[in-house]
Structures are given as C-alpha cells and as structure tokens.
C-alpha cells in the first residue's frame, strides 16, 4: 500500500510538472502584456522596460520557465504582479474555503445522486424511474449561475432558511454546496442506477436473500457497498470538474475560495496567480484521484495493489 502511494506520488509529481509546463507555455503565448497592466496608463516606455526587466519577462521562455520551476521547488510560487502579494499566501488564505465547498458538494451530490439512483434502480422501468432520470437531466443541463441565484432567492431571500451568501457556519455552506453538487448528482444518479441494476442481478444478492435477510439489509448492506465501488473512482474526477464550477458558485455566494482569485487573475493576466491556482488545483485533482483510488482499494478488498 505504501509502495503504491509512493509510486502514485511520483507519477503525480510528473503530472504536475507537465501541467506547470503547459500552463506556463500557454500563458507565454497569451495575447496580453502583463507589464502594461502593471505599469498603468501613464507609464513611459522606459518604466515599462524597467519593470519588464525586473520581472525577468524579457528573458527567453526556457529561462523564465526554469527560473519559475527553481523557485517552485523551494516552495516559492512568486508574487502577484498586481497585488504584489505572495501567491502562496493568497492561495493558502483561500484554499480551505474551496476545499470545504468541494467536500460539501461531494457529500451533497452523493446524497442526492445516490438516493435518486437507488430509487430509480429499485423502481426500474416505472414512472418514478423515468421522472427521476428526467430530473437528473435537468441537473446535468442547468447552468450553475441560474441554479445558484434561484436557490438563493427562494431559500435565503424568501424563506430565510439560509443566509444570503457569506462564509463561516454550516448554514452558509448548504446552498453553495447544493448548487455545485447538482450537476454531479445528475451524473451520479445515472451511474448509480445502472451500477445498482447490475449488482442486483448478482449471485451474492440472491445468496443474501436466501439467508432470509430483510429487504433493507439486502439493499444497504449487500447491494449498496458493491454498487458504489465503480462510483468511488469517479469522485476523484469530480474535483477536476468542480474546479470550473467553483468560479461561478463562489462568486454567486460570496464564498472566499480560490475560484474568484483565479477569475480575477485571468481577467488581468496576473500570471503568477494563474500559475499558482492552476498548480494547486492540479494538485487537488491529482490528490483527489489518489484519495479516490485509495478509497477504492479500501472499499474493495479484491483490488490488489499492483
């Protein structure tokens, strides 16, 4: 197990290296000049050149990249061009919120998606099944901004069950997590449905029933843990999908995560922040996958560590 984790970590490091290179190259090619943004409207060409030299942006691409990598290895993500703050500090101050939001979203999508999937599987072919699957479609197709605002309007403004945006307590978390999770719950309900249908056909379910177990026990103790196995691996992938969603959800709910940081940085070509956020989210994705794989390992005793 330890060897497996170690091997995966090495692989992950290589993936991160690749991500850093591609991002750096893309930003290098990005048709906007960060120095202009820094220097302001009234700057003289000399000032611009001076700043460019200070930031090392006059160097060839490879030099720039290697220097970035060198600093990165020392844990230095650089300073924001426009905020002049350490990118590391900015990210550290915002990351916990994003991670909390993602965790909430995963819980929410699993709860919604799995419940819907299980019910649909048990009631396979009935009206319940069909309507649940249509609901899952709406979940997959609904724009998050609209879902977020709608939830906010109904549950926070009208019903006052939850605060209107903000961060801090559990009740702050509910609406953003639901908004972020709705998309995934659509996917999960479909996957859970087919996985469950598959499992319910298995011999061991028949064995369990032959033992005289009750319906609930067969369902939750035998079918569910097996049906959920293929889904665990998907949770890792979710982290990647969420990275896109948090930009929208965080801004709707005023959630102080890295999504907003990234969005502002992209608008202003604040390259160190974009790089930093990209790397951190890549880390999160890679770790998410790793955790999901380890969870699969733990949940499924059959998988041997290869």
């Amino acid at each position: 197990m330890l060897a497996f984790i170690a091997r995966r970590l090495i692989q992950s490091a290589l993936i991160l290296l690749g991500v850093s290179f591609i991002t750096f190259a893309l930003l290098y090619l990005f048709p906007a000049d960060p120095v202009r943004q820094i220097a302001g409207r009234s700057a003289t060409p000399e000032t611009v050149a001076n700043i460019r030299a200070q930031l090392g942006l006059d160097q060839p691409f490879v030099v720039q990249y290697l220097r970035y990598l060198g600093n990165l290895l020392q844990g230095d993500l650089g300073r924001s061009y426009l905020q002049k703050t350490e990118v590391g500090t900015l990210i550290v101050s915002r990351l916990p919120a994003s991670l909390l939001l993602m965790a909430g979203a995963i819980v929410c999508e699993l709860m919604l998606g799995l419940t819907m999937g299980i019910i649909a599987a048990i009631r396979r072919g009935t009206g319940t099944d069909n309507s649940l699957m249509i609901v899952s479609f709406i979940g997959v197709s609904a724009p998050q901004f609209v879902v977020g605002l709608l939830l906010l309007y109904v549950f926070a403004v009208q019903l006052r069950w939850f605060p209107i945006g903000g961060y801090g307590t559990f009740s702050h978390l509910v609406l953003p997590a639901v908004t972020l999770g709705i998309l995934g719950s659509g996917w999960y309900s479909r996957m859970m449905r087919s996985s469950m249908i598959d499992v319910l056909r298995q011999d061991y379910i028949r064995t369990a029933r032959a033992k005289g177990l009750g319906r609930a026990r067969v369902l939750f103790r035998h079918a569910l843990p097996n049906a959920i196995l293929p889904i665990i691996a998907m949770i890792g992938i979710d982290v990647g999908i969420f990275m896109g969603g948090i930009v929208v959800v965080e801004s709707v709910f005023g959630w102080p995560g890295i999504g907003q940081l990234a969005w502002q940085a992209i608008q202003r070509v604040d390259i160190p922040i974009i790089m930093g956020v990209t790397l951190v989210s890549a880390c999160a994705i890679v770790l998410g996958n790793l955790v999901a794989d380890i969870a699969s390992l733990l949940a499924d005793p059959r998988i041997k560590v290869r």
Binding site: F137, V140, S141, P143, V146, G240, M243, T278, S281, N289
Partner: protein, 297 residues
C-alpha cells in the same frame, strides 16, 4: 447419442431492420421527433419567423429599455436588446447543434482513439497515452479553453476545437478501462488464435462492444458541451455575439432570471429537451444494436 441436443431457445429469427425495431419504442420515437424538430427548426428558421435573429427591434424594448414578456408579437418575448427570443432560439439551434454534435463528436473520437489504443495495446504506448490523459485531467479545463481561445481568435470552429480538446478526457478514461477488460475476454483470444490482426480485432470486435458506452457518453455529453460553449461565451472566448447559441442566450441573460425569466427558461428548456431527446434515442439505439436484445421491448 447426438439426438439429445436441445433446440435453440429463441424463436425463429424474424429479420427486422433497425428502423423497424426503433419504431416500436415510443420514447425513442419521441426523442427522434424532438431531434427532427430541432433540426428542422434550425434549417428552416428563416421561414418560421418573420424576424432576423440579430435585428434589434424598436418594439422589442420598452421605453425604459426593458425586454418584452412573451405574448403578442413575440411569442417567447424579447431579449435585452429587443430581439425576438423565438427567432434567436431557432437560429441558436444551428450553433448549438453544431457544437453539440461536432465538438462532442470530435471529443468522442479523440477519447475513443486514446482510450481504445491505450487499453488494447497497453505497454509503453498505453502508459504514455494514459499519463497524457491524467495530465489533461489534472489541467483545469476552463483555463485551457480560455487560453486556447485567446491565442486563436474566437470563432465557432475554434470553440468546437477547444471543447473537443477539453472534453475527450473522461471518455478516454472510461473506454480505456472497458477496452482493457474487453481485451482479456476469451473471444478476443479466440480471434487472435485465428490469426486476426490488430486492426481487425479493434474495429470488428472491440469497437462494436464499446458502442453502448460511447452512446451513453455521447448523449450525456451533448448538454455538457452546449453548456461549456455557453461558459466560454460568458468568459468572452466563445461564439462571438451576435451569433446566438442556446448557451450564450442563457449566459447573456442569466442575471435577469428574476426580472425576465423567459430569457433563461426557454433556452434552458431547449437544452434539456435536446439532451433528453438524444439520450432517449441513444438508449434505444444501445438496445437495438445489441443483438441479445432482439425481439424484446
């Protein structure tokens, strides 16, 4: 002694075309109908509406600049520039169908190619391809899309390419796993012992088994893709205005969901319906193409 051999379980095969079998499924028919309606709406948009999609009508805005609610001259209302929403949705179907079919199709193609190649050949080539997939997976798709779209000037075709580049990853992962397990199946071993080459095994024997998965991901991908285009438009790197697409109509107007709900509701409905339609048809095709399902409903 040979006499005891049992008769075949199935009834004598009544040869039916795929079409005949599809027709028996009401839901699939409904799906086909919806897709056809969308297609026809897109193609014949100029004949279905008296307006031009980009025409900002004087009557389309109130004196204070508010859009018109559905009814009267504008069956689905107007947008914030006083354009007829129905017209824009009809014309938007063109863009959205191109994105949904083409971008999604290319993504499926790439994903299938990568996943199947890696899963079937394995080894170093498979390792490299799957690491590439992991890399793409770890890469924030949206950022990639923004950069690509900014580096090339945004246009419909660039958007198609961008979406395809971003969206193949999951298909590749899923098909990789499936191909890897298919390759271990006995009928593939049997093919090998017959001397079949890789291409033959891949195209004649593996791909047909992947069709259901490809259909599932393809149909589910339609709504994701249409929405991704919308997100790109929102970030300013999508299909450029005033060209309408269902996604960008929603995104342009989403803050007005309360003041002018029709601007979000109708294009949203269009996306859900199209996705649902494709899925119904996809489901049906999946079963119809599966010979073990012949003769059942």
């Amino acid at each position: 002694m040979t006499a005891v051999d049992t008769a075949p379980a199935a009834p004598p095969p009544v040869e039916e075309g795929i079409w005949t079998r599809l027709r028996r499924r009401k839901l699939a028919l409904l799906g086909l109908l919806l897709i056809a309606a969308t297609l026809l709406g897109a193609i014949f948009a100029p004949y279905l509406t008296q307006f031009d999609p980009d025409e900002q009508l004087f009557e389309g805005l109130s004196i204070t600049g508010a859009p018109m609610a559905p009814g009267g001259m504008f069956p689905l209302g107007t947008d914030l520039l006083g354009r007829d929403l129905l017209t824009r949705i009809l014309y938007g179907a063109r863009t959205s169908l191109i994105i949904g079919l083409l971008a999604n199709g290319v993504a499926l193609l790439i994903g299938t190619f990568v996943g199947v190649t890696a899963g079937y050949f394995g080894g170093i080539l498979g390792g490299i391809l799957m690491r590439l997939t992991d890399l793409m997976m770890a890469f924030p798709a949206l950022l990639l899309a923004i950069c690509l779209a900014a580096i090339f000037q945004p246009s419909l075709w660039i958007v198609v390419m961008v979406i395809a580049t971003v969206n193949w990853v999951q298909t590749a992962r899923v098909l990789y796993a499936e191909t890897a397990s298919l390759s271990q199946r006995e009928f593939i071993a049997a093919e090998r012992t017959l001397g079949a080459g890789h291409m033959r095994i891949l195209f004649r024997h593996i791909l047909p088994h992947l069709v259901p998965t490809i259909i599932v991901w393809g149909t589910l991908g339609i709504s994701t893709t249409v929405l991704l285009e919308a997100t790109l438009s929102y970030l300013g790197v999508g299909v450029q205005p005033p060209t309408p697409s269902w996604g960008n109509i929603i995104f342009e107007n989403q803050t007005y969901f309360q003041a002018a709900p029709w601007l979000v509701f109708f294009p949203g409905l269009a996306i859900v319906t199209l996705a649902l339609a494709f899925n119904l048809v996809g489901d049906a095709f999946r079963e119809v193409l599966d010979p073990t399902q012949r003769g059942r409903t």
